[in-house]
């Protein structure tokens, strides 16, 4: 009998609405996955138990046992302290100071490593799509809100207290719409899913015609990013105009980030880009190029991530592998014994 392989890694993406888990071989190819609703309203312990269940399901789905898993990397929305394994603050989960890594480690009997969700997605994209080649790279994730992940000088950059990358709250329009954070004209008020839905609802309320009301009724109940894609593909002028406008603002945000950080790569992802990238990406690139000083953009790539929804779980596997790589070198017994 050959010894069973024990070098699998699990990546977990903990979101406000759903939990995803993916099992990866040491080559970072996914062998199985699972997902379930977060149900944050049930409280911290219930959510941690649901995460553990999702991980076990993904492992079983992969035809493996938890003993074959070397480590778990998990991304949480909000401010995290990776060294302490602690979620400091997560608005979407209503969490404050939750020792997620140790709690999950106790549930699973496997080492658990924590990161911010956007940082983790960027880590996954940087490793799997770009083989860690660009030394400096910025990830922009357009979803319900907008978040970012920074790779600077060849490593995830967290800044003081690991809170860098909050690009959704860059002010782009100082006299613009009020944001959830209390300020006006944050990037997030101009190009997130919430922003798109708000602008569409306002236009519908103002009596502008759109196929979306035929598809979903006057209240746009259950509106999803995919509905916008369908409406645009069917020639809906209102939806196309609003999405184009958000893409222009995203181009300005890309230009701002290039002016400040001058990365070699800007990569966009998240649900909004997954659904609407076909229309938005050319506009984003054109606007960013038009915005920057001549020559400034030379050699810089502005691209859409191909990992889509899997960026976070991929990054979780990368994080666990990287961290275990260190642990194997310095603390072999701790890893073997856990």
């Amino acid at each position: 009998m050959t010894p069973i392989a024990v070098d699998y890694l699990v990546g977990v993406d903990l979101g406000g609405t759903k939990i995803m888990a993916g099992v990866y071989g040491p080559d970072l190819l996914m062998v199985g996955c699972a997902k379930r609703k977060t149900k944050a309203e049930r409280g911290v312990d219930a959510v941690i138990e649901r995460i553990a269940r999702t991980v076990r399901e993904a492992v079983e789905e992969s035809g493996l046992t938890i003993e074959q898993v070397r480590g778990v990397g998990i991304g949480a929305p909000g401010a995290v302290d990776p060294a302490a394994g602690q979620v400091v603050f997560a608005v979407n989960l209503a969490w404050k100071d939750v020792a997620l890594a140790s709690a999950l480690q106790t549930e699973l009997g496997v080492p658990v490593f924590l990161e911010n969700d956007c940082n983790l997605a960027m880590l996954g994209i940087w490793e799997r799509e770009f083989q860690r080649t660009p030394r400096d790279a910025v990830g922009i994730f357009l979803g319900t809100g907008i978040g970012g992940g920074l790779i600077l000088n060849g490593a995830l950059y967290g800044g003081f207290r690991h809170a860098a990358g909050e690009i959704g709250h860059m002010t782009l329009d100082v006299n613009g719409h009020v944001c959830g954070c209390g300020n006006r004209g944050c990037f997030e008020t101009l190009a997130s899913r919430n922003a798109l839905f708000r602008m569409l609802s306002d236009a519908v309320a103002a009596g502008e015609p759109t196929l979306l009301t035929q598809m979903l009724g006057a209240n746009l109940n259950g509106l999803r990013s995919g509905d916008l894609r369908k409406a645009i593909r069917r020639g809906d002028a209102l939806t196309e105009r609003i999405v184009r406008g958000s893409a222009e603002f995203t181009g300005v945000a890309v230009a701002n980030l290039i002016s400040v950080l001058h990365p070699q790569l800007v990569v966009l992802g998240g649900g909004v880009i997954e659904a609407l990238g076909f229309l938005m990406m050319p506009i984003i690139s054109r606007r960013a190029k038009a915005h920057l000083l001549p020559g400034t953009l030379e050699g810089i790539e502005i691209v859409e991530s191909t990992l889509a929804d899997n960026a976070g779980i991929t990054g979780g596997a990368v994080l666990a592998r990287d961290q275990l790589g260190m642990k194997v070198l310095h603390q072999p017994h701790e890893v073997a014994g856990t």
Copy 2:
């Protein structure tokens, strides 16, 4: 006879209007300085000769000879390639692809190291005022235009092609005033010296009363930042209103940079801050604090640099010392023989 000391360093700040040179001991205390007009219109060779003359004058002023100088660090406005010692592009000088370091090294017979002027100023501030303590720090320089210098993970950050830190071209007001770069509402159009003067001229043209016209005439001929300070100190409402407005925008820019980079320190300098910091700094801090999510600003310092106009030449000495530190280790003959 004791051997003469040969460990002096010269920092040079090459600006569009003036050249400054300062001579520093190995302890980074200045022992002498000199300055002269740049006269960029006379062409590259003439300017390089003028830089060399300013360096020699500063050395003589210090009671030293050029043989006692180990190295020169120089900051140039615009895009530079430090490894090649090349000024890639400098609008204010009308320079393109100038091999400044080697030309000056030939003139002086001393190793010369090149950096971007704002990076160099930030390096000087970080070393002299903050003893390199904050791992992540952002410098914001409000002068004729607006530039920035980034210290990330304990070192100057240049990004891809060394063009990071162009914070003056962050868009803050997407529908705002047109900038020299062709876009609208760049930070530079809201808080640079040029922006302040433009807003004052517009207000005077619109018939608003101000002490400045009593001081300088209806055309505000020869207006300087110091005149704004005088006018405000004498109770001029227009000048105070406009400077306060620029401080508010600067606070928004500080908040943006904290959101993206989360540095431990934000330090402001440049001629506008030197003249008007007494009014602007409290507004900048207040606005940045109001702008950021609660808790985000905890532990972050927002301060005015005390080095003022000497930040650049101090940084030049630091750069030369750091670079020579490396050269002494690896190429002793080259340094000794130059």
